[in-house]
Symmetry: C2
Subunit: 336 residues, 2 copies
DNA sequence: CTGAAAGCGCTAACAA
DNA sequence: TTGTTAGCGCTTTCAG
């Protein structure tokens, strides 16, 4: 096996306690001994056993990140953000994917009762209808912060973006571009972010000057092909919408494809805004107007808040809600 | 604190040893006691402390995944693949990003000497020129498998795709479409996958029927804007190439943008193939011909091999090299 | 079938 | 400034 404190102690004729303290640069140890300890440790390539230390200190220096999936650009960027601050703070990050399954999410959260992690960052699955599993782990004393997909009814830190406003803005943007019949393409209606986006859309239509204040909400909760069909049906109708809001990234491809099949010209016949961080928005034809979410920043912010609560005992997560605004990047898909 | 074996023991008037065995469904324990133990454990919501168990058993049931970044679609999909098999096997996955820095990679690997993880999955950084840090951890007895970006000179399992052939195929594809002057856009020349791709390209040009067997390799190792400039300069030249091979996903956007600025028509004036898994390839204009890598499968395969070596003592990682082939998806960007 | 006891490697009182 | 000692919670001989 690898070298341990005991080995260092033996070689230097010191006690394990002394070595342990020296390694942490404790002030109770003389500079000379520290020096000797450091040198030998380096020479023998000593690396402390993290599990022994975790067991003893009841803290693991690791956090968990629970995500639905790491498929779209949002979560990829968020992970980068989280990891960057974790690395800086010397924390390790365990990653768990729910694959949008509520059962998995429950099982994963339950395991955290064990003390494996010091804190949790979570973006809930689209199927999550109850938040008992989350409340339970919080009640057990575990710091938890939501990001992006939150449970409204759980009192803890939430890092979100301005979903309502973004959607409101997007809708107004389309209205201003001349759209009269805007459809909102939704998924995972259980998610609060989705509801907020939907509400923003509804509100904007209600506030608009157009006579026919009808809203059209189309549920697209399927795989790419399934969504393609749904959108195709929607658009081939002669009473089709003249504006579309794609509430999630994965709807973008089927929309473009459906328009292409139907020879619908974007933006002449139908205008489009998508919620996405895809860099490729710049090179689509036409270039895609997006609501760009601050994914990296949200990841960073979530991690930052969690670490603050881990480092300060008197820090109350309940009071922390950070809203990092999204921006509308107007491009050709919504041009007048 | 949470409930532990001792608590169960007390309540049931049994010893901790008995509880421990019962919980693992050991045959030395009577069915009745097991029953009682299971029930109480469930009732009290007992979750074993993983660190105590890791310390004792010298195994952590966790693996590390070391990646350059999780920005592009390849690594996102790979993580999904890895996580899916890890979850199935009951393993936890720690994620570490090197951000393409060799120093970070070294530091991260060094920490693994501590026994924090049972095995490692790694795709090396673009700056990694030496493999000593990797050999060291393997020598210390740690199972390690490379995926995608490997170190040729390290003897251990490697999950790769057919980079040479893919590039060869891509080049032939462009030649067949009529290209006479194909340029290869490269990054991170230290990486073996990049060299293989480059070699495939060179070989294809050499094997081709064209008289002027000149190859043109353009180094694009910068951020998006920097790469845009490099590509712009390349294409504005009157002796510009008529075919382009983008060896990595992130070059796609600057290429399309540069062509647009220069009013170069794809594929009429310049044809293009990219190494990418972007779903948006389908909706670019023109649609993008891609070498699509089996990212998810490679992640799965890498994890599968690692777990095999973790489960069977007589399994030799050195002999394991899996090649999961990429496919050429011909679309309009390379049409004749 | 059950239990006593040792110990994984480290930390933190407390003593010297 | 250094050392002794008692665990952290669990697993695993070995005895009963």
């Amino acid at each position: 096996m690898s070298v341990k404190i005991k080995d260092l102690a033996k070689q230097l004729n010191l006690s394990v306690a002394t070595i342990s303290k020296a390694l942490k640069d404790s002030h109770e140890i003389s500079p000379e001994t520290k020096q000797r300890v450091f040198e030998l440790a380096k020479k023998l390539n000593y690396t402390p056993n993290p599990y022994a230390s975790s067991l003893r200190k009841r803290s693991s220096k690791t956090i968990a990140v629970v995500l639905p999936e790491v498929a779209d650009s949002f979560f990829s960027l968020a992970i980068n953000g989280i990891e960057s601050v974790a690395q800086e703070k010397g924390y390790h990050v365990l990653i768990y994917l729910t694959h949008e399954s509520f059962e998995r999410e429950e099982a994963i959260l339950k395991e955290f009762q064990s003390g494996r992690v010091d804190g949790i960052l979570i973006s809930v699955s689209g199927e999550t209808r109850s938040s008992d599993h989350i409340k339970e782990v919080i009640t057990a004393g575990m710091p938890l912060v939501f990001f992006d997909r939150v449970c409204e009814d759980v009192e803890t830190a939430k890092i979100i973006t301005n979903d309502f406003e973004s959607s409101y803005t997007a809708t107004c943007h389309l209205l201003k571009a001349g759209c009269k019949k805007i459809a909102y393409l939704s998924t995972s209606s259980a998610l609060s972010i989705n509801n907020k986006r939907m509400e923003g859309y509804k509100q904007a239509v209600a506030d608009s000057g157009i006579k026919e204040k009808t809203t059209r909400i189309v549920s697209c909760d399927s795989n790419t092909e399934g969504n393609y069909k749904i959108i195709f049906e929607l658009l081939k109708n002669k009473n089709r919408p003249d504006g579309l809001i794609a509430s999630v990234e994965k709807l973008t491809t089927p929309i473009y494809l459906a328009c292409e099949s139907l020879k619908l010209s974007i933006p002449r016949e139908i205008k489009l805004v998508s919620f996405t961080n895809l860099q490729a928005a710049l090179i689509l034809n036409p270039t895609l107007t997006t609501i760009t979410q601050p994914a990296f920043e949200m990841g960073k912010a979530a991690a930052a808040v969690l670490f603050k609560s881990l480092e300060k005992t008197n820090f109350n997560l309940k009071k922390e809600t950070v809203i990092v605004p999204s921006v509308l990047d107007a491009r050709n898909s919504s041009k007048n």
